[in-house]
């Protein structure tokens, strides 16, 4: 890096400039969106009672933070989503391992998995509530149901795509099927598993919110449905924004894990 030509400096400058422009554009959209919303509501172009308003949402958030209810709702939703995600990741991976291990089972169950995959799992939520009851467990089961089938299929596809020759290599050393699994199939499928987790976290949130809309007594989904019933649109809009922040945050955590795990 001692002798950098002016041309290269120019190139680096251009590159930095372009990256900066993209960042600026991204923030600009956010400010313009909330700015127009705020002003339109202040000028009575839209009815803030129905559409809410950023400043009113802010006030609502401060009020709820003061009485602590904000953190209750966030932690309930976050806890349910993480629990649903973790359980569905573990159970889904185990199921995928089982299906990889036993091709007969895999072929037999294949049509059922395909149907389950295309079924909108949220349609099952009311049934779950009837069976399990009006409680947090029903929400978590809904979250698991929503995300587990995709987890199984994504992981299984990863397992099956591991090259035959890599498996043969382990077999030439006299490796057992268990060793094929632990030495090759699982490590080689790490990218597929992370990919499954990325899909899984979003779907777990879908499951949690649907569950909360139907049954909960706390959580952001509950706040949305309760707020809309009593026309506290500030709560509803605030909850939606908090939800998108939470989902983005968890997604970033997975991406960070992916970098640490697969970077080699």
């Amino acid at each position: 890096m001692t002798n950098v030509s002016p041309e290269h400096l120019e190139y680096l400058k251009k590159r930095r400039r372009r990256a900066w422009m993209v960042k600026a554009g991204q923030w600009l959209i956010l400010f313009v969106f909330f700015g127009i919303w705020e002003l339109a509501a202040a000028a009575q172009l839209i009815d803030p009672f129905i559409f809410s308003q950023p400043s009113r949402m802010w006030k609502a958030m401060i009020a709820m933070a003061m009485d602590g209810s904000l953190f209750t709702h966030i932690s309930v939703t976050l806890g349910e989503a993480i629990l649903g995600f973790v359980l569905s990741a573990i159970l889904g991976t185990l199921a995928a391992v089982l299906l990889w291990w036993n091709p007969f089972l895999r072929k037999t169950l294949n049509p059922y998995l395909v149907v389950l995959n295309s079924l909108p799992k949220t349609a099952l939520a009311p049934i779950i509530i009837v069976w399990i009851g009006n409680n947090v467990r029903a929400v978590i089961v809904t979250a698991i149901l929503t995300s587990i089938v995709v987890t199984i299929l994504t992981a299984l596809t990863g397992f099956i795509e591991v090259s035959e020759d890599k498996i043969k290599l382990v077999e030439t050393f006299g490796g057992s099927k268990r060793q094929v699994l632990t030495k090759v199939v699982l490590p080689a499928s790490a990218p597929a598993l992370v990919n499954a987790m990325e899909i899984n976290i979003g779907l777990s949130f879908v499951g949690v919110i649907v569950g909360e809309l139907l049954t909960a007594k706390a959580g952001l989904g509950y706040l949305i449905v309760y707020g809309s019933q009593i026309f506290k649109m500030d709560w509803v809009m605030l909850s939606v924004i908090l939800l998108s922040l939470l989902a983005a945050l968890l997604y970033q955590v997975i991406v960070a894990l992916e970098k640490r795990w697969i970077q080699k």
Partner: protein, 246 residues
Amino acid sequence: MESILRLYAISKNFHEETSETQAIADINFIVRDGELLSIVGPSGCGKSTLLSIISGLIPPSSGEVRLLKQPVTMGYMLQRDHLFPWRTILQNACLGLEIQKKRTPANLRYVETLLSQYGLGEFKNHYPSQLSGGMRQRAALIRTLAVKPDILLLDEPFSALDYQTRLQVADEIASIIRREQKTAVFVTHDISEAVAISDRVVVLSKRPSRVAAIHNIQLPAGVKPREAPEFRNYFNLIWKELDIHD
């Protein structure tokens, strides 16, 4: 030289829904202790299948592979190096030891010795993607040697390399095998490679394959194998026997 392995009337059929293919008709030959034996044949004649049968990975349809010394252990080397990208070179080289639960300090030292002896010592903590094709192939050979096999089975181990690298790596691998005094059975479709590095060459016919000829390769010492006048004679002889041009 003593014999270490004998193939008796090996045949192999492959079954599909609509057809049955006879890949190997009737193959007999012996492998001698300490020799480097090549098997050449036209593509599709079941050379690789034969190697899998010798190793016991797949059973023959009929016939028998008889081991004439006990116990005989085998090491397999595949067409591509298949080093695992998530393991370092040292960890890759220890794969067989791990699988056979023989990763003792003594064996680990042996692997480290092999690595440094064959120019990979300073790369043992690198990942495969950081190595050249030839180095990766050497690492793959060390992975096979690590479990101290009596017989090495090599299935076209250079076919994934480009021509320049290939010539060099083939000679390198052959000299490592000789220095470690291993018996090796080496499958290839490259006649010049077979003649250049082997003690004997088994020529297989087209599918369903039989042994068409067996040649003792004797090239003058002190000359590069590929430059000896006899090299061309062997090459032409085997090329005619392969009979792939009709």
